[in-house]
Symmetry: C2
Subunit: 191 residues, 2 copies
DNA sequence: ATCATTTCTTAATCCAGATTAAGTGCTTCT
DNA sequence: AGAAGCACTTAATCTGGATTAAGAAATGAT
């Protein structure tokens, strides 16, 4: 259901040999809960495809406050795109919430793939297009909706996440403090 | 300096024939100040490459308030990416600030280009990657910086824009009301 | 099972920024 | 040139959400 090849097959179709090539260029890793896969200041040398578990990326600001940039469930990719694309030190942390199984694709191997299987250029372009659209929508939502409406949208868009994330992470994602989030939820229940 | 072919040449190199093909697939248009090129609810059938002038994209929320999503100067592309990619009605307006000259590339012609000049798949992928990174950075900035710091960053990143945009548009871009923006600027001058 | 750490809640106080309202230049149109 | 509309400013008041602080509940480690 959520393997890498199935994910690719949604957008481009590969021959058996091409599929095998892909598999030789990725590695699978297993991580315990709360493992940090990438730290601020490091270069993001791999992008991660989630097989099991939930990962998140976040920044830490001058005051030490965390800001969740994204979550990734099985079947999703995650990386510090700035750092990954430019191969310069980035500002994101990437961390497992729970025990997780992840496929790693190095930047080098991705370049190899582009050369040997040009169709994958299309695959990754589509992935990036989708991220861009989602990101832009989030920006718009943050500017034009109330906190309550943003929470509502989040719950509807990611119903599987609402009940398995610590709610301080959801609070951070929608852009409020855990205290305020808690107050808001209590207010919602009264209705 | 800012023609379409020069823009493409920054990332991929085309043969003369390929360049000519590109030119046959775009059209150039001239617009007066305050012309609306795309309205909410319409399908974004073309993406726009700016030759002259400044365009901006924005949404209008339930209360009729405008939120600037992006600006585009000469040498930049602009479109409602959600609508353009999905060919469904979008929520963005795209409008010229001043008199402008713009090249239009239709979605159909873009698909033709992908087929006939696969190198362009790479070109557009890179453009989208850059947008994604910029967008993600803006999200992070909105979550972790004060209004003042965001304005400061904006001024440094787009020095050419600060002095030629109505400041209510800058206020909207960084996410505050024109009144507050005005107050903040007065406060900055005192220092 | 117990202790320790983290997460969540509640409540009081505070503040950045919104809202409302007026007033002051600018353009631009006729 | 005058009217009409925008863009910008200033100021008073209000509010969503932050901050601080404390306790309660859940989770995890030994």
């Amino acid at each position: 259901m959520k393997t890498l090849l199935e994910n690719i097959a949604k957008h481009v179709s590969l021959t058996t040999e091409e599929q095998e090539l892909v598999l030789t260029l990725v590695q699978t890793e297993h991580y315990k809960a709360k493992t940090i896969l990438l730290k601020e200041g490091q270069i993001c040398t791999h992008s991660f495809f989630i097989l099991k578990g939930i990962l998140r990326s976040y920044t830490v600001d001058q005051n030490g406050v965390e800001h969740v940039v994204s979550f990734a469930c099985p079947g999703w990719w995650i990386a510090d795109m700035y750092s990954y694309l430019s191969q310069r030190p980035g500002q994101l942390f990437i961390e497992t919430n729970e025990e997780a199984e992840v496929m790693l694709l190095s930047k080098e191997n991705q370049e190899k793939l582009y050369l040997q299987v040009p169709k994958l250029e299309r695959f990754f372009r589509i992935l990036i297009e989708n991220s861009l659209v989602a990101n832009q929508q989030r920006l718009i939502d943050n500017m034009s909706f109330t906190t309550e409406a943003r929470y509502d949208k989040f719950s509807k868009k990611y119903p599987e996440l609402v009940n398995c994330l610590p709610q301080k992470q959801i609070a951070s994602y929608i852009g409020v403090t855990p205290e305020f989030f808690s107050k808001m939820k209590a207010r919602l229940l009264k209705k």
